[in-house]
């Protein structure tokens, strides 16, 4: 393992590269916009070229600075700013996603551990696990919400709509965890398994001391996918289930007002991206913490 100062330097460099990437992105956006604007201006004489390119006027592509300024604008005089609304929505969505992610991880791991017990179970069940992911999310979201409102009275706590959204996120996250988790649990060599057998280790001991730790390097890539999927799942779930308070609702509202203020939707999109990045960042931090000394940390 490298010394801590060099890992710190590597991290600083990554942050720097990311900042440069953002600036380049903003410059490309602005550059294309200026270019398109120039063509639009000459369109009267040159209309053939202009009609080939996507429009770049302020309605279609609001200026970068306007988008940034929109964070501080309030829809109503003296009211909450757009940036604040987005932050609140992001936190709301992040909570739904986190609950869904946690439940999905537990369910995914449980499925992996059960399938580990027999090859036959694995062959029989895996196709159904895969098939589960072909169900269109947008279609089941409203169903889940209705179930939550009317069908879950037996629960000891009152079911809230946001929990239905978490359930939708769970549905997306359990899959990569189950599939990669199973591969990871199966990764120890036959010698390692025989060694455990020679110590007369119980099935539980083998799982805890050998198979689970061995599965971590396989599990973390799945958890990163699951982290973004849970955020996307939560947003889509909010939209199709009509749950208020999160980014999904915000995106729906701002999309409705796109004609009068396109910047707002861009703010919401940036908010959603940052939320996804935060989710992945949390998983990556956990990964560094757990795998740091193994010499097999990703990247």
């Amino acid at each position: 393992m490298a010394d801590p100062s060099s890992t710190r330097r590597a991290r600083t460099r990554r942050t720097l590269i990311f900042a440069v990437f953002l600036v380049v992105l903003a410059l490309l956006y602005t550059g294309y916009k200026a270019f398109g604007q120039a063509i639009d201006d000459t369109q009267r004489d040159w209309w053939v070229v202009g009609s080939f390119l996507p429009r770049s006027d302020d309605k279609n592509m609001p200026p970068v600075l306007d988008i940034l300024a929109e964070f501080g604008q309030a829809p109503r005089e003296g009211g909450t700013t757009i940036g604040r609304l987005t932050l609140d929505g992001a936190l709301f969505t992040l909570r739904e996603a986190a609950v869904g992610f946690a439940a999905g991880t537990i369910i995914g791991l449980a499925i992996a551990v059960v399938l580990l017990q027999s090859r036959r179970a694995e062959r029989g069940v895996v196709p159904y696990v895969i098939a589960s992911q072909t169900v269109p999310l947008i279609a089941i979201a409203p169903i889940v919400v209705v179930w939550g409102r009317t069908g879950l009275e037996f629960l000891p706590w009152e079911w809230q709509d946001w929990m239905s959204v978490s359930l939708i996120a769970t549905y997306l996250t359990f899959f990569p965890v189950a599939v990669n988790g199973l591969r990871g649990l199966q990764s120890p060599s036959p010698e390692a398994a025989e060694l455990m057998q020679s110590y007369a280790a119980s099935r539980r001991q083998v799982l805890r001391r050998l198979q689970l730790p061995a599965s971590l390097p396989y599990l973390f890539p799945a958890l990163r996918i699951a982290a973004t999927a849970s955020v996307v799942g939560a947003i889509v779930g909010e939209i199709s289930a009509g749950v208020r308070g999160g980014l999904g609702r915000l995106i729906l509202d701002f999309a409705g007002k796109y004609i009068t203020g396109p910047e707002r939707l861009y703010v919401a999109i940036i908010g959603a991206c940052i939320t996804g990045l935060v989710a992945v960042g949390l998983v990556a931090a956990a990964e560094r913490l757990l795998l740091a000394r193994r010499g097999i940390v990703a990247q």
């Binding site: 060599s189 010698e191 390692a192 025989e194 060694l195 455990m196 057998q197 020679s198 110590y199 007369a200 280790a201 001991q205 001391r209 050998l210 730790p213 061995a214 971590l216 795998l291 000394r293 193994r294 010499g295 097999i296």
Partner: protein, 259 residues
Amino acid sequence: MAQELVLEIAGLEKTFNPGRPNAVTAISGLDLSVRPREFVSIIGPSGCGKSTLLRLVGGLIDPTAGDLSVNGRSAQEARLARDYGMVFQAAGLLDWRSAIRNVELPLELMGWSKSRRRSRATEMLDLVDLGGFASHYPSELSGGMQQRVSIARALSFEPALLLMDEPFGALDEMTREYMQAELLKIWRETATTVVFITHSIPEAVFLSSRVAVMSPRPARIAAEIPIDLPERAPQVRDTEEFFRSVSLVRRTLRSVEHE
């Protein structure tokens, strides 16, 4: 009589996929006994079932027929009683555990207290001359060092029988000779009984009090050659007696192969 033997095998047979078209009889009519504190090497042509024999002894697979007892118990009972320390060609260390935590693994499974297993593991690492590498991870250790950790791990719970399956097969010649000397030192210090699988004749001769030669499949013990060397120091490899024993084992192996 039976009490005086650590390992007693009579008429052992192992057939894989019995009763099916692809049935293979790996071992048939195999007899072998090992006395306490003996170092017995098992040598034979490749693919003759040496590893199968070791797995049968270790209770990892069950024999089709025959008797196999370890200190008067069946192989399964002995395995459950943790009578075996096993070392394979691959060190098989858990790469997320430091050297000392790898040595502690079997002790952990056996429910030893933390302080007790820490002190035993420290002792064992000293025994294999790795006292200074306790907190190193497998990826930071050479192949020979990893194998020494694996030996320390196998001996940590003082098993009645140490089973080694070509433990030095993946090491270069220099490391190999060094490891052989180390193993002999450990064997003398711990007074363990060792069954050692190898395909290297000089290795078998240098290490063993007795070399058992296996026949090709279906395998049995075709000959047993007592080795009587005056002292087991590295220099003994250059003596007349060593050469004589090596060539005796070699001739026996050749005659067995062409039976």
